[in-house]
Each structure stands twice: as C-alpha cells, then as structure tokens.
C-alpha cells in the first residue's frame, strides 16, 4: 500500500505549490509557486526533499489531514502555530521541526495569527502530474497541483518517493527574518518616469495598508493616491514578481506569485527579491512602508539572505529526544498554553 494524505478538512485556501513554473512566461503562463519560497525550501530540507519539491501552501487556516497507508514525514515552516497531532494521542509539534506520522494519525494546522501563509512539506513529494514541468497550482488557469484548484474536503493525494535523503527527524536552529517591522525595499522603475516627482516621494514616505481584496495574484494597497505624469497606459510589457503597478485610481498593486506575465499599467517600482517572501506573508490590514535601494544593493541583500538560508539548511539538527519524551513534554506544555490552540 502506498502512502497518502487525506484532507478531512481542507482549510480555506490550501494549494500545492513548488518554487514556480519557469520557462513558459512567453506563452503567457504565470510563474505561480509558493508566496514564501524560503519557507518551502526550509520545510523541504527538514523532510529530506530537494529544495524545489512541491509542498502544501496553507493560507489563513490550515487543513486537518489523516495519514494513510504508510508512515509519512511532514514539516511545517513559516508560522508560529504548531502542527497539532489530534488522533489517536494528541501532541504538538512546533513549526520548524519534522515529524514522522503513522497511518491513522490525524493532525491539523489551526488558525495562523502571524502570517497569511505557511508551508507544509511532505517527504517524497506528491504523486501529481507536472504541467509545463511544474506542480505549482495556478487556480485562475485551472492547472497544476491537484486538478488546478484549491484543495477541498475529502481530497486525497498520494505521496511520491522522491525524497533525496533520510536523516531522521530534524529541526531548524534559529529563524529566518520574516518580520514586517522594517520597510519593504524596492528598486524604482521600470516606469517611475510615468509619475510626478511628488508621487514617487509620496510612495516612499506614506504608509500603505494591505486591502482585503488582495490575493495570490496581487496585493491591493490602500493609502495616498499616486499621480501619473504621463497617463496610465503603457505598451504592455513584461512583469517581474514584486512589480508595483499603479492603475488609473492611483492606488498601487504589488504583483505577487500568481501575477500576470505582462501588463499595461506603469510600474512605479519593484519589490526586491529578498523582501518578497515576507511580503508574501503579509496579512490584510497590515500597514507597510516602502524604501528605495539601488539594484546593486538589492542583489547584495539577496545574496546575503541566500547565505543565511544556506546556513539554516546546513545547521539542521536531529530531533534528539525520543518521541515519547517529546510527546510528554509537549502535552504538558499544552496543558499550560492549551487556550492558544484548543
């Protein structure tokens, strides 16, 4: 019998996501992929997958999953919420740590309060067809992942055997920086010349609030309207993830993982790649500020961040205490802080 995971409850916006679908943007195929690619890479490392294996992206509230057939190793990364094993014996597994679950065990990830998304990796990946070489779900196009759609109650996905190593259960030492306290850094352009100097100044000095109308395609921002200097039509051109387009309303939209490949609104600035994962985690209602850096600085920041991620992956530690001790420890912790997740 092969292993599978069965969604007793799906969570509101659970999808299969990898690091994205590359090489077909010229056909109009969006990249999609995890909003927080660092969380996916770390979660994959914890379960022994290659970094670009597809996992589950959970948004706002996680699923309730039953393990079937064979033992399955999973790891949750990107939230302070714990993975809660519910049946047969309840215990908690903190985020940033893998756990090997037996057939019949049921776990859930509850409401996330610190992020809009996190990742659950499954050792071996999923037995699903690659579309244009990727398992990433692109819901608006109806392809990728599980039938091109959000996971729904009752879905079952077979676990594949692609894990590259088995070092036992592991945990992350330390955290990656995902705080929203510092400004989101941007490189101005490609069309900052389509805005008045005042508008660029305003954009870099005013708070913007992430609107509830935001989704995986883009974050709509509420705040001060930005004035165009040369209208709001450009010959449609290619879009990078993180591009901040400003339509005629003057309100910016940051284009995220499911973004279109091209577009005709001028783009005042582009979020640097190192800040995309934390912006991907931002919650509706959250206030953000922007600050400008040069493209060379952006590259340096990204390379520094990459070194930090590599260090985290190299520094994964074995979960040293045995499972029953862990269970006991976590249960006693649960008695104290049960209200947090009960």
């Amino acid at each position: 019998m092969t292993a599978s995971i069965c969604f007793e409850s799906s969570g509101p916006m659970t999808t299969v996501q990898s690091l994205g679908r590359f090489g077909t943007q010229a056909l109009g195929i969006p990249v999609a992929g995890a909003l927080d690619p660092i969380a996916l890479r770390l979660a994959n490392a914890l379960v022994g997958n290659t970094e670009d294996e597809a996992g589950l992206e959970l948004r706002f509230m996680g699923p309730r999953i039953r393990i079937q057939g064979e033992p399955v190793r999973v790891a949750l990364v990107g939230t302070s919420s714990a993975l809660e094993v519910l049946e047969p014996d309840p215990f908690l597994v903190p985020s940033g740590q893998s756990v090997t679950l037996q057939p019949g065990q049921v776990f859930r990830v509850g409401l996330m309060r610190d992020t809009s998304c996190c990742v659950l990796a499954v050792a071996g990946g999923f037995e699903l067809p690659a579309i244009f070489g990727s398992l990433s779900t692109y819901v608006p196009g109806g392809f990728g992942g599980l039938s091109g759609r959000l996971i729904v109650d009752g879905d079952e996905i077979a676990v594949a055997g692609r894990a590259k190593n088995d070092r036992g259960d592991l945990r992350l030492e330390g955290e990656y920086d995902s705080s929203m306290d510092s400004p989101i850094r941007v490189v101005l352009g490609p069309q900052d010349d389509y805005f008045t100097a005042d508008a660029v100044e305003t954009f870099l000095s005013s708070p913007y609030v992430i609107s509830p109308e935001s989704n995986r395609m883009g974050l709509r921002l509420a705040g001060v309207r930005l004035e165009h200097a040369k209208g709001y039509n450009i010959p449609s051109d290619g879009i990078a993830t993180g591009a901040i387009q400003v339509p005629g309303t003057g309100l910016p939209i940051v284009l995220m993982a499911d973004r279109q490949t091209t577009g005709g609104y001028p783009k005042i600035a582009t979020v640097i790649s190192a800040d995309l994962p934390r912006l991907g985690r931002a919650l509706p209602g959250q206030e953000i500020h922007f600050s400008a850096v040069k493209v060379d600085e952006a590259v340096a920041i990204r390379r520094q961040q990459e070194a930090a991620v590599q260090d985290l992956i190299k520094g994964l530690k074995s979960v040293s205490i045995d499972a029953s001790q862990l269970q006991h420890l976590l249960m006693s912790e649960n008695l104290i802080s049960g209200a947090v997740w009960g």
Binding site: N233, D237, G238, V299
Partner: protein
C-alpha cells in the same frame, strides 16, 4: 535601446516607444538572439510590443553583466526569418449585454454606432503582437484610430474566458476568466488555451487574425461542438 530595471530579478530592454509591426519584429529578433546565447543566469525572456523582459537569477548574474551581453547581441541580431505565418478567422458574438457589455460605451466614446464598431472589428486584419497576461492570451492590433479608447481607470473582475476586449486600438482575447481594464466588446467560443490539445496555446506572435460575426445561436453550437470534442479549431485556419 533603453534599459530599465525591473527590480533585481529582471531587466526591461526597450526598443521603442510606439507600437508598430517593425519595432515588434526587432523585439522578436533580439529575444531570439538572447535565448540562443544561453547567457548564464538568464531564466527566461518575455517579448512584448516594444521590449524584451529578461528574467534572471541574481545569485548567478547581475544587471551590469547582462547589459554588456545584450548590447553586444543587439548589434548582431538582424531580422529573424518569419516563422510559419498563419491566418485565422475566429467566430465572435458581438450581441447583447452578456457578450458585449461595453460595446455601446466604446461606440459612444468613438462617436459612432455599435454596428459601426463591429464593422471596424470584423474588417480589420490584425496581427498577433505578443502573447501575455494569461496563458495563451493574444494581443492583437491594430484597429482603426477612432477605436483607440483608453483603458478603464480601475480594472473590473470576472471577465469570462473568450471575451474580446479592446483599448488603445488593440484587441485582446481572454484565455481565462480574469480582471480587465479593457472594454468588453464580444466573445469567441474558441478556447485560445486548452491543455488537452498537443499545443495548448493556439496563436503565436506574427499570426494574422480576423473576426467573423456569429449570432448567439452559432456561438452556442460551436461551444457545444468544442465541449464534445467535435470541433476542429484548425478549420478556421487558412493559409
């Protein structure tokens, strides 16, 4: 040639400011040259009306390195041989608020009747400038000057697959439901993107497209034939 930063993962190489078939041909040629060069760190390239967007991995290359390489390639790339140029006649229904909710607005803006707008749309032989925004979605042009209405101020959501939309003298056919800032003037039953076809994307840059006006009844017949797989989309191709 002008370079614009699209953050630290992409570089916009702009070859002109006004949309024309000539500039677009230069774009296609430069894009082919960049792809053929297989520059280290380049992930993929996206050709559009007047520019090529070069997506790159900032861990493997940087903007300065790409600038040098692309300047060199631009000096070398000539016109590419036009690939197979195909002509298409696509059925479009222009009737009623469901199929063409913005037709009367476009007519009003242009100072003509709705029927005159439809005549312009079916008389024009348009070329496919680019594929973009969504899977297999073509950007066609050009329409007569009098139909060059600007985009809407704010995109509206839920425009259905097959919608024929226009703005700035260009036409787009929606390959999937999406928001749009363009004006919806008709709808085709022919899917421009279909994963069940060997080549999911129907049109390619450089193809020629004309519209054929169909009534709602024929639209439904074609849609039904497509649904039970008895419609050969290639039959609309002429050489």
């Amino acid at each position: 040639m002008e370079f614009r930063s699209s953050g630290d993962t992409a570089l916009t190489v702009q070859l002109g400011t006004e949309i024309s078939p000539e500039i677009n041909a230069h774009v296609v040629a430069l894009r082919a040259a960049i792809d053929a060069a297989k520059l280290p760190g380049v992930i993929e390239t996206v050709p559009t009306y007047v520019s090529v967007l070069v997506h790159y991995d900032p861990l493997l290359t940087d903007q300065a390195e790409l600038l040098d390489a692309i300047k060199l390639l631009a000096g070398l790339s000539g016109e590419t041989n036009a690939a197979e140029q195909r002509s298409w006649l696509l059925p479009v229904c222009f009737d009623g608020a469901d199929f063409a909710p913005d037709l009367s607005h476009v007519a009003q803006w242009a100072g003509v009747t709705s029927d005159e707008v439809v005549s312009d749309l079916i008389d024009a032989e348009q070329i496919v400038y680019m594929i973009g925004f969504a899977p297999g979605q073509p950007y066609l042009g050009d329409l007569p000057e009098r139909l060059a209405i600007p985009r809407k101020e704010n995109p509206v959501s839920g425009v259905p697959r097959g919608a024929v939309v226009t703005a700035t003298g260009k036409t787009v056919i929606y390959s999937q439901q999406n928001p749009t800032g363009w004006h919806v003037v008709g709808r085709t039953p022919v899917p421009l993107f279909d994963l069940t076809r060997p080549k999911p994307v129907l049109l390619a840059a450089g193809d020629k497209v004309r519209f054929r006006r169909v009534e709602e009844r024929e639209f439904s017949e074609i849609a039904a034939a497509i649904a039970d797989d008895s419609y050969d989309v290639q039959r609309e191709a002429s050489s």
